[in-house]
Subunit: 157 residues, 2 copies
DNA sequence: CTCCTATTGATAATGGTTTTCATTATCAAT
DNA sequence: ATTGATAATGAAAACCATTATCAATAGGAG
């Protein structure tokens, strides 16, 4: 396997060492792919992408690494209903940060939106607070997705 | 296969006829199971339940019928992240109606919440309206789930 | 009751994800 | 730079929820 590409130690090296994880070519290349796209890639998408540069890296390692990255909080895993999980960088300098999705039920397109509207913020904080109290439930995360037709599909046929 | 159990024609018979679908024992028994529980059953859960009364009904039919019921709008299908789809009655006299979920990431328990739904509804419709305008997206559905620890799991070492 | 065909159920197939296990690579200690 | 403990990898097989196939069955209009 050829030498790694990074020159200066990327921002995630520290966190890896802290957790006692080793820095490996597969891990770096996967993070590299994720940090260079704004798409919502499947494990296989990532595999093919990585394969261009490191043809020896196997799909198994992609899955294993993605699991690790999700567990570490670097990556978020989503299900948009097409039978395969999608991954995207959730933290790091270039990441969009927490956001929600609009999913087109016709073509599968996924739109990120980060410009939360006031109403949504209000909805979330109120709901979370009330639900925590009412059900004695410690909320740590939420999933919000809207389904419908994107601009293209709406105006088709 | 023994004769059906219902005496008077249940509320869904009409809609079946309208759509040209036949009334069959599997379909009735599956709707019967769903209408008698407030749990979020998997296809296999339903299969086992139905199997107690009609041992000849196969799992394939459960899947097929659930697909049909979802398509007809009788049943909602959810993914709570444990690798199997969950189903629950979404319309009918006894159904809770549209609601959202609290999912315990430790024990998998799922809590329906219908309180605050009024205020939530209002904020949601505002949010949907804003998003539709901003992204030129025709929203027809949404998914909202909160993840965290349920009362039991929160207080457990 | 008959006939047409929608529906069913046993079985095999599918496909994304995980497990297994022998081999390889990382990195702290030398 | 070398070594050694062991974390990480990759090929292959296993897993498992869901679907497709197809011959047999049963609903219900007439
Ligand atoms: Mn996104
Ligand atoms: Mn529910
Ligand atoms: Zn679309
Ligand atoms: Zn719990």
């Amino acid at each position: 396997m050829p030498k790694r590409f990074g020159v200066g130690p990327p921002w995630w090296h520290g966190r890896f060492r802290e957790c006692g994880y080793r820095l490996t070519t597969p891990r770096e290349s996967i993070l590299d792919v994720l940090s260079k796209t704004s798409k919502h890639l499947s494990a296989e998408d990532i595999y093919l992408e990585v394969h261009n540069i490191y043809p020896t890296i196997g799909l198994t390692t992609i899955y294993r690494t993605l699991g690790l990255l999700v567990q570490m909080g670097f990556v978020s895993k989503f299900d948009f209903g097409d039978g395969r999980a999608r991954y995207e960088l959730s933290m790091g300098p270039k990441s969009v940060g927490h956001h929600h999705h609009l999913v087109c039920t016709s073509c599968g397109r996924v739109i990120d939106y980060t410009d939360f509207i006031e109403e949504e913020k209000e909805l979330l904080s109120k709901t979370e607070k009330e639900l925590s109290k009412r059900y004695n439930f410690k909320i740590s995360n939420h999933l919000i997705q809207f389904y419908g037709l994107c601009e293209r599909c709406k105006n088709k046929k």
